[in-house]
Each structure stands twice: as C-alpha cells, then as structure tokens.
Symmetry: C4
Amino acid sequence: MGKLYNEVAGRDLNRLAALSDGIFAFAMTLLVLNIRVPEPLEVHNEGELGHALLHLAPSLLTCVMTFLTLGIFWVGQQTQLSALRSADRDVAWLHIGFMFAVVLTPFSTALLASFITYRMAILIYWANIVLLGLMLCLSSRHAVRSGLRKENAPAHELLQRRIVSAQALYAVAAMLCFVNTWLSIALTFAIQLNYVFAPRISWLYRL
Amino acid sequence: MGKLYNEVAGRDLNRLAALSDGIFAFAMTLLVLNIRVPEPLEVHNEGELGHALLHLAPSLLTCVMTFLTLGIFWVGQQTQLSALRSADRDVAWLHIGFMFAVVLTPFSTALLASFITYRMAILIYWANIVLLGLMLCLSSRHAVRSGLRKENAPAHELLQRRIVSAQALYAVAAMLCFVNTWLSIALTFAIQLNYVFAPRISWLYRL
Amino acid sequence: MGKLYNEVAGRDLNRLAALSDGIFAFAMTLLVLNIRVPEPLEVHNEGELGHALLHLAPSLLTCVMTFLTLGIFWVGQQTQLSALRSADRDVAWLHIGFMFAVVLTPFSTALLASFITYRMAILIYWANIVLLGLMLCLSSRHAVRSGLRKENAPAHELLQRRIVSAQALYAVAAMLCFVNTWLSIALTFAIQLNYVFAPRISWLYRL
Amino acid sequence: MGKLYNEVAGRDLNRLAALSDGIFAFAMTLLVLNIRVPEPLEVHNEGELGHALLHLAPSLLTCVMTFLTLGIFWVGQQTQLSALRSADRDVAWLHIGFMFAVVLTPFSTALLASFITYRMAILIYWANIVLLGLMLCLSSRHAVRSGLRKENAPAHELLQRRIVSAQALYAVAAMLCFVNTWLSIALTFAIQLNYVFAPRISWLYRL
C-alpha cells in the first residue's frame, strides 16, 4: 500500500479542463436566462413590444459584462493550465475554488441587474471578480512552488502581473461606486473591453 | 521574460472546441425549457390535454427551427476549427463572440414563440442568425490572414461562400416579415431544412 | 477549390461525442428539476414534510425511468460511435436528430409526471422512446452503407437487433395504456430495469 | 456474429469521464440557482438589501457544503477512473448510478436549505451522500474483480478505506440531528472542510 490517497488523487489535467469547460459553458449560458421575455398579455402592438424590450437593457448590459469577464478568465485559466505538466490534489482544489467563483457569477450578475443603482450590488459583483483573480493567482503560485510547470512554459510572472494589474483596475472601478454607481459600471465595462480588444493598441497591449 | 501575455494566451484548440460543445449542448437543451407542460389543474380529461398540447405548437415549431440552426452552425464551426493548426488569442475571442450569439438563441427563440405575429420578434431572431454568421465569417478570415490553417485544409472560400449564400437567403426570409410574419417564418424554416436535407438534391447541393 | 462544403463538413467524431455527452449530461440533470422542493410555508412539522415528500413520488418515479432510458441510449450510442472510423455530414445530422430526441425527454417526462393517469401522456412518452431508437437505427444503417465502420468493429446486426427487440417490448408496454396506464408504466419500467440489470440472467442476456 | 451486445457495450473510458464531467459541471452550477436574488419591489434602500441578502445565508451555506461534497467525489471518481485500463458495461452502469446520486444533490441541497431545522431534510441529505459513496465503492470493487485495473495503479484499498472512513464520519454527523440539527450540519461541514484542507495536518492526512 504505502502511498496515501492524497498523493495519488486529482492528477488528471484533462478532466480538470473538461470540468472547467463544462462549468464555464453552463455559467455563460445561464447568464442569458436573466433576460426575460416580456409577458405576451402585457404587450398589444409593435410599439409596446419595443418598449418592453428597452426595459431589458440592464439585464442585457450586465449579461454582456459578465460574459466578457468569464471569457477573460477562461482564456486566463486555459493559458495557466497549458503551462502545467501535471496536476496534483492541491491544484485540483484551487481550481475547484476558482470554479466556485465562476458558478457565483450568474447570481452576482442577476443581483447587479436587479439593483443596478445600489452600491452593495456593485461591491458584491466586484468581490466575485476579486475571488476569480485570487483563486487563479493562488493556483498559479502553487504550481510554481510544487514544480508542476513545463520547462518551456512562458514565465509565471506574465500571468501574475496580468492578474494584479487587472485587479487593481477593477478595484478602482468598484470604489467609484461611492461617487456614482453608473460611473463604476461604465469603468468596469471599459476595463473588460480593454482586455478583449485593446491588445491592438500598443501601450494598452503591454498591460 | 520577453514574451507578452497576449502572445501566449488562448492557443488551445481542444479547449475551444470543448467550451463550444458545452455551450451548444446547453443552448440546445435550454430551448426545450420553452415548451411548458400544461397546468394539471386546468386539464380535466384527454380531450382538454390534447387541446392544451396544441397550444404548444408555436413553442415546438420555433424550438425545432433553432435546433436546426444551431445544428447547422455547430457543423459549420466544427468544419472551420478542424481546418486550423492552432488557435491564438484573437481566434479564441472571435469564437467567444460566436458563442455569445449561440447563447442568445434561447432568448430570441422564446421571444419569437411568444410574439410569433410581431415583425420585431422576427427581426431580432434574424439579427441573431446574422450575428452567428458574421462571427464565424470573421474568425475564418482571421485564420487565413494569420496563417493558422493547416496546409491540407479545404479551401477557405468554401466556408465563406456557404455562409454568404445562407445569409442572403435568411435576409430575404426576414424581409418577408413586412409582407406577412408567417410567410417569413415559413421561408426561414424551409432554408434551414434545405441546409439539413437538400444536399441530396443536386443543384441545391452546390449552394 | 473543387471540393464541396458537404464533402468536408462534420467529420469529427470526437466533437460529435463531446456534443452528445454534453446534451445527455444536461438532459439527465434537468430531469431532477422536475422534483420540486415543497413550499416551506405549507409545512409546519416533520410529519407534514414527510407527507409533502410523498407527493413527489410520481416525479421521482418518472425521473428514474427517464434516467435509465437515457443511460441505456447513451451506452447504445457510445457503442455505435466507437465502431466508426470517421463521421461524415450525414452521420453528424442523424446524431443531431438523435440528440433532439434526447432533449425532448425532460419535457415528455414532466408531462408524464403531471398526467400519469392520461393515455396521451404515455403515448407521447413512448413516441419519444421510439424517436430515440429510430434515429439510432438510421444512423447505424447509414454507417454501414457508407463504409464508415472500422474493419474490426462488432457486427452491425448486434446493435440493430438490440434496438428492434427493445422497441418491440416498449410498444407492447405503451399499448397497455389502453387497458390501464399504471400497468403500462410498470411494464415500461420493468423493461428499462431489464436492460440495466438483466444481463446477469442468462436467457434475458441474449435479448 | 458470435459476440453479444453486452460484451461490446460501454467500454469507452473517455466518454464515461466526459459524461461525468458534464453532469458534475451542471449539478455544481445548478446549486447556485437555489440562491435567489431578492425581489426589487421589496427592497427600498441599501439597508433593506443587506437585510434581504442575510436571508440567503442558509441557501449559501448549503450550496457551499454541496459544492465541497461534489468536489470531493469528483476528485475521488477521477482518481478511481484513472486507475482503470478500460471500462465495461457494468462499470458504465455503476457510474451512471453514481451520476444519478450526483444529479440528486441539487434537490437534496435545496430541501436542506428550505428545511434546515428539520431532521428529515438532514437525513435525506445524508442518504444522498451515502448513495454517492456506495456507488463509488461498488464500482471500485467491480473493477478489481473484473481485472479492469492498470497494473501500476495505486492500491485499491486506498480508495476503499478512504470512502469507508469518510462515510463513518458522515454517519456520526447525520445521527447528531436527533440531538440538534445545527450541530449535525456543523459537523458535516467540518468533515467536508477536513477532506478539502486537512491533508496539511499530518494525522488527519492519514485518514
């Protein structure tokens, strides 16, 4: 026997990736369930339908924001996992923690859509983003300390620096909610768009 | 360090395929949630149950239509991805955009089922199909420009031409909604059936 | 260019399997959403909770039945796909049709749970099982005719005979609904249990 | 022909893992749907929102508990499957039974969240954990008896002992519900945290 359970458990990188993809896919699809089709009984003509659809704007906006966030973290997690030679039990659990943060996003997004002018909703949404970054950061660190990375993997600092600078920007945006909640949301959205598109702009690219 | 995050991120084709399959699978399954089981309290005999089930026809019809659309685009995306040697960050993001269009389909389908005689519902449904085609087109183009395609991959023009001719047909169908919404839906459905079955008919096969 | 889209599309067996697994997984999980937690306001003590839980029996029974059915067809589809060398566009579409039947099961199950004494609910549930068997049968035939099977694959007749004998049994069970709906459900359940457990009993094993 | 269906069916370990990952992913994501966003009409200021969110504590607590449980069993199942050379029909069905237990967790969790002071809710929650352990145990045993394990796989007793000791602890925690339901939940939670974190503490590590 000799070996302990904890030394042989959770080593399969492919299954970790598969579970992650399933959870990301489901969370990303659930977001859209927050956008409710208007009640047919309350709509009598094209004009009223247009009006009812306009009321969905906060749901649609927060849905797009979270979809971008999940996309950003999915690319980040994939980049991190592809640098590993193998997983171990601790990597598996740190990523399960990361997935818990992913799974919370449909809730924090729906909360923000329903209470878009409340500071508390913005701070909870922000806390969710912090948790995503934190878990990814911890698992990246653990991989370095435990020697689980491939020899030719890109430098660990690359991902760490990326997470830290993004989190600093999100923190600034969240704090703006004490001035005005819409300002806070606008900056959060701008940061997300930056991480999707801005690589094309040279100085932003270096962030 | 040297390398930048954006040069190492998002390169894993398998995970892109896995995330896509997850999102297609949930979107396709969610469609059926639009078909609601009749209320037991409102049904007293076999005849009333039959009657209540007939009322589900618009939900069932739009569900089948979108299932076919998603099937068509799943085959299309699979054909495109299988022509790639590797992904990069931009391919990943163009496909995340494509998945956003996939994720919107349960909403636009439910909207069409609830407002099947409204032009606005048809135009939104059509916009969703346009977005699907557009994102697939953009990512296909990007793959050519960035040299990410396999050497022996089938010609890029094949997929492009396919998307353009399909989108032209969908546009004609959508415009028919200004004449009659049912006509518009009938033609959209016929186009979808064509892409599933018509390959058996020789001149349609060449479309 | 030369090649046509339909000759290069939909060939990836792994993605077909991945989409199927996603759809099976989601459909199997959705089944359980039909089992609703009792309303806290209507329950005042342990006895009332027990009573409220007993009312969930039809939902639980139909949920187990469909879970078994989906398990049986998942094993069947897996066995079929593992006999193929490659897919083509038609195999892909026949399996997409099969998945449509999978996706309908949470609906037909919820319908049966709500109307467990109605013949129409049983016949629709049965039609769903017929559709599952039919699509699997058609795709198996197509694979033979198109020479897509591996050379050392187990005989095609094995799967065909299995489907035909199972469908004959399900048809008998469905017809019993004209005598008594509970009898019909009991026999359907017995058939499902047979396909899960009976291989241990020698003459049933040969079915 | 010669061969029987039951001898060729269900042998694909990759698809078994893929189905499992899909089901774990959805069950883990569905858990969060139990945490309902407060009704906007009932909240008029930040204080009331904070108050409404506090009422979500039982949902959040049970959600975290089940997420940990599912994480523990996902790591356990992965460790078990990675010790196999191949699957067979019986392994496939034992794991489908295991997945049924996984699929029940969102229900038993929602039941516990709604009736957190009821013994019956705790006993049902515990029965679900017992079912998870039992199916994993049975499939592990079957793999040994059928010679499906890899030669260099870690000792089978490792996983068995792990399951038995965990189940003994859960049983003690469940029985505490006859003293006090909160005590029972507290110990269950402590056991779960132990299996996630305690490996760092040496004598607990050996459990």
